[in-house]
Amino acid sequence: MSKNITMGDLAIYIHWPFCLSKCPYCDFNSHVRGVIDEDIWADGLMKELDHYRKLSGPRNISSIFFGGGTPSLMSAGLVEKLLNRIAQNWAMAPDVEITLEANPTSTEAGKFRDFSAAGINRLSLGIQALNDADLKALGREHNMKEAREAIDLSQKYFKRSSFDLIYARMGQSLGDWEKELTEALTMAVGHLSLYQLTIERGTAFHTAHSKGRLILPGEDLSADMYDLTQAICDAHGLPSYEVSNHARKGEESRHNLAYWHYADYIGIGPGAHGRLETDGEIYSFCQDRSPEKWLANAVAQGHATAQKDCLTVQMRAEEMIMMGLRLSDGIDLKSFEKRIGQKIDKFINQTYLQHLFELGYMEKGVYQQGNQPGHHLRATKQGRPLLNSLLAQILAH
């Protein structure tokens, strides 16, 4: 580790808000548009990069993530332009992780090689299901054949790659999922994101669900699916390091770890969020959500920040606890104190915590990181699937 300790790490998220079609389960900030003028978008995105450079000061860029929307619809040229601008503005860590989210249609897969040449070193594929019928039901544009090819290509062109699956889908049985996951593990190399299907407001699935046309597995079955997922992935050497993310040791998404560790990150592009510490305060940022509004503001005033708030100590603490407990390792207490400025106990309802210790849902302890022992607070394997309830208790005043 030859990092300049006076210069903090920074993660950068870049949002590309366009999709070929809108998936019925997705509530992300994504939009279907005809022709996109990449030059104007490049201008807007680079202006925001410059703007945030002024706010952050010199930093080490530890990771970059192109998310969306569908960032694989961007040209490799645009990606390269943005990476160049980042490299001009900040210092790139030698081992910087640069991820791009991609859809496995053949057109997009055809661009993998160029993305790799542009500097992308990690690809995250939205596979979602391993049979054509379910892919169709999920509103995906690709089929299984394309999915397989895209996975092969991603492993060929990128040093690291991952793909996503959605489970606890309508009509899915425990046996179906076991088969599908086992098959997925024969295809995965170092990383898998396995999300339980959740119904979000403002999606087509939400409407169907509220009208009773979409029936999902109940709590017990989805809990069984979650447990099975843990068991199978453990057995295949891809244990979960976060609620929905599994990786071989060292293959974790460093960029996403920055969120869960509550480190500094900036968000560029429509609807992107950021958390940035300057002068001892942590600020939250949120950019304009509408692509058109964002673009107009970014071009005209150099940024499209719709909201910037200085977070209170209480808010910071709650956010760090909320994010940190998603990790299998939990929260490193020393990092917490360093980031928040106070001990974690001050923010946690001790009566509830004690009770959760007794129930075996939470634990506090010492762990070994290299030669250094650290102290952590974490949700146990049994507690993690209940995290929302645990949080509501320990953060109750």
Binding site: E219, D220, Y265, G267, A272, H273, E319, P385, L386
Partner: protein, 600 residues
Amino acid sequence: MTELSKIRNFSIIAHIDHGKSTLADRMIQHCEGLTDREMKNQVLDSMDIERERGITIKAQTVRLKYTAKDGETYILNLMDTPGHVDFAYEVSRCLYACEGSLLVVDSSQGVEAQTLANVYLAIENNHEIVPVLNKIDLPAAEPEQIRAQIEDVIGIDASGAIKVSAKTGEGIDELLNSLVEILPPPKGDPDAPLKALLVDSWYDTYLGVMVLIRVLDGTVKKGMKIKMMAAGTTHLLDRVGVFTPKEILVDELGPGEIGFFTASIKEVSQTNVGDTITEFKNETARPLPGFKPVQSVVFCGLFPADAADFENLRDSMHKLKLNDASFTFETETSTALGYGFRCGFLGMLHLEIIQERLTREFDLDIISTSPSVIYKLHLNKGEVKKLHNPADMPDPTLISHIEEPWILATILVPDEHLGSVLKLCEEKRGEQVELTYAGTRAMLIYKLPLNEVVYDFYDKLKSISRGYASFDYQMDGYREGDLVKLSIMVNSEPVDALAMMVHRAQAEFRGRALCDRLKDLIPRQLFKIPIQAAIGGKIIARETISAMRKDVTAKCYGGDISRKRKLLDKQKKGKKKMRLYGNVEIPHSAFIAALKMGDD
């Protein structure tokens, strides 16, 4: 002052929906008590709730001027009385103030249980009864059959029954004329010291407490200093008047007359229905037989759904009490429901009305616990303790035996539903006294424990008879019963608001039903929760809520933090609406739903 021979005082006895209020409207219209423009339906029922539910809660009077066939003008005082068993005492006071009653029967429906009870009360008060067959305009009307039924069931001569339609006005003049001819004029001595009956009283926002009286002897005048003999208080009258039904001030009221006075009285509780009113320092030698203070028969806890509404609820109850001295309340604390009130009522209808008024007129969200009657606990030491809150139940080993109130119920039910009504009465520990027939309807007299009746008897009776059964009761003393306190425990902690007194034979069934219901009402928690029903230390029913298994957001990245934090804040606020039971959070809604349950 009106000459005694020109006065007729009467009340109207009728079952709900048999058209009493409409008939009163027609009579008022016929005598031009109100212009057509002032007339609205059921003018006498002044509270919304009275008009909507078709019941009269407070006594009302109207003084009508009627010119009879003999060419003379008479003063007719109509008294509209509460028709429900809960207000039986008020009914009897009204009857005492009149010399006769109209017995109004729907000629398409026939005699109902409630009518029966009130007619007997009227007969006991030496009333002349004028049978009236109403609703003769209906195609289903069978006036001749109903006339025979009145003779059969009630046992009075109905040959002179008058056929009317309160709706169309047919027969109204004949009815008014018959009143003059048949009813006796009141008696009284205008020169004797004042003697008047306090019939009812209510609170008027502008005038304060208004006292409705019937003068027996002497005269009551504005400016007079009166004494309420039982209360021992004196008041200076500042207004004397009558209702036409509008309030009209008069100088005085003489014997036989019915009217009101005001005397700067602040609370209804200072006036006792049935009290004798006389002139201060010129007292009547013989006060009326006296009054009995009204006693609560049914009790329950009323709690604000939102603890912050406690003071609001207290104020609202005080306001209701201004006008309803029979409603009682005192502060109660429940571990389940927080601060609230233990309230006493005249009966189930009274309870429902109070609840409804609190909700409707005062916009309060309230939770009520299971209604309870008054039990007499005979302790080993010989002491007798009254109990109406299961929470106050002492250690059973200290009790030698428990007595519970019984009632004598009269139920009229169409033949085809008789079987199921008999079954219901047996289930409710009833003892049959009599079973007779009146046409196609059976008249059942049963002795029943009141605690079974307040639990769900009304609702069940209504549903099994499809609304055709009518029911009335009177108290029938106390009897020993094998009663136990059924406690409900959630995670081994007793939930006081759900405790109830039940007969031992019913305990297991009720306990099971409650546990089963609660199992579905209490959301899963982080651990297994036993729900138990127990008598003393003995568990008689048990259910288990399995532990929650999954509650986690699948995706939570950098863009989700703000949203999730807000969600968490909401969740934390939601916790305030929960009550903690040995670490189990029970949402308020679970209690409300559990308390609403019958054993359906």
